[in-house]
Amino acid sequence: MGTLVDIKSVSCYTEAGRPLFEDASLSFSDGERVLIIAPLASGKSVLIRMLAGLSTPDKGTVTVLGEDIAALAKEDLNRLRQRIGFVFHDSVLISNLKVIENVALPLIYHRSSLSYEEAMQGAASLIAETGFRGDLWGLPGMLPLYAKKEIALARALILKPEIVICENLWDGLTDTEKRGLSLLLLKYQESNPGSLLIFTALSDADAPLVRPGRVLRIDGSRIIEESRA
């Protein structure tokens, strides 16, 4: 198994100087499913956002897909980010783009060889896989939470990333909705066996949905790992 994420002696502090976690070392490999469990404001978002280069550690190094994130030039970081799919806690769809354009945007922007129609077709078929039943050509502002998460997930998967990071994916959803999104991710990993899935959650109540191989807990300023079969 190849290492996709390598976190070495990383420490992060709040602006007030409170440690979120200190001297943490972790590595994640291809094909793994990792669940990070921690209460609100405990640093799990900081940890996963570091993997996408949205924040930098106060100490230590974060290597993703063989690249030291903090040392990358802007263009190299943007290239690396195409290999990472990220679903934000609150979905964060681009409000002035239609639903289908939100999903097609990474394709339209990064795959210049594709025509506009091909990008839209690709987006439409991926959205169909999520089971989305809303208006593809409507703006996303008024969509219910579940539909927003479906679209955010489709957008994260559209470039077939090697790493998929989901921030509190199940928050605010019914059991059926949680199962729907989880199955979609498991299906994605089945068809892309080398991909790494990372989830965060407030509790381990939803862990069975994705059957994680590894579970990490942020407790105080320590990251504790428990193994699962």
Partner: protein, 261 residues
């Protein structure tokens, strides 16, 4: 001593903001020249939408204002010039006032009021709702995808609206005010064409492009300076308007002095 310190701090802050403006201009130039093909379809879409909202949708209001300004200037000119024995100067007066000065300035003021505010508030909202981070995480540079097309769109729009304003105000002004004053249309057109030299067109062109650059840059800067709270958005919008107006008028004065003194 305190006054000096305050003055020093203010100057440093102004210098820092100007530096940030230069960075936006640099990124826009870099995007247009060196990254033209990157995400071309997506950025072109943003550019076209910007030009549509800023230029095309402003045509009705620009037409009204241009007609009224043209009417005022033609009426004033035709009432004063005969008393001074300078009826033949009507073309020169209109070109000096409308083409050299009022065209670019009025087009800019309307673009600031309609689109500078929209740009700052839209970018501010995108920033506060994490949409800018969402673009970053997709590997899309917000300066390239959001800012450069807006700055370029503002430049194209002010340029188009300036020449539209000038045409409507000159000819509309003649139709509304000059029609019954015994000046034949052909004489009027001749007088305009004789007064309209290379320098007048160049100054109008330069001003419109520069003012568009200022509006796009300043509005984008204040929009992206919003951090996490939506209550910052109205403040950003106000700062964008005041900052754009201030720089447009300073730039106007500098260009006029450089070209005509």
């Amino acid at each position: 001593m305190d006054t000096l310190k305050r003055l020093g701090r203010t100057l440093l802050e102004r210098a820092r903001v100007l530096f940030e403006f230069w960075k936006i201009i640099f990124h826009t130039a870099e995007s247009v020249i060196f990254r033209f093909n990157l995400g071309r379809k997506a950025t072109l879409d943003v550019l076209l939408k910007q030009v549509y909202f800023t230029a095309f949708e402003a045509l009705p209001i620009i037409s009204w204002i241009a007609l009224i300004i043209g009417l005022i200037i033609v009426t004033q000119s035709l009432s004063i010039l005969p008393r001074l024995g300078g009826e033949g100067l009507i073309g020169e007066i209109l070109v000096w006032v409308l083409v050299r000065e009022l065209g670019p300035v009025f087009a800019s003021v309307i673009v600031i009021a309609r689109s500078g505010t929209a740009m700052a508030s839209e970018l501010g909202l995108m920033k506060s709702s994490n949409e800018v981070s969402a673009l970053e995480v997709m590997g899309i540079d917000p300066m390239h995808y959001l800012v450069a097309p807006r700055v370029l769109g503002a430049m194209i729009s002010v340029f188009v609206l300036t020449f539209y304003f000038e045409a409507i105000s000159i000819f509309g002004g003649y139709i509304l005010a000059g029609f019954g004053k015994n000046i034949a249309f052909s004489v009027f057109v001749d007088s305009i064409m004789q007064a309209m030299g290379f320098i007048e067109i160049s100054v109008s062109l330069l001003k419109s492009l520069l003012f568009g650059l200022i509006i796009g840059t300043v509005s984008s800067y204040y929009g992206l300076r919003v951090k996490k709270s939506i209550t910052e958005i109205p403040q950003a919008t106000t700062k964008a308007v005041i900052g754009s107006l201030r720089l447009v008028f300073v730039a106007d004065a500098v260009i006029t002095i450089l070209f005509f003194i």
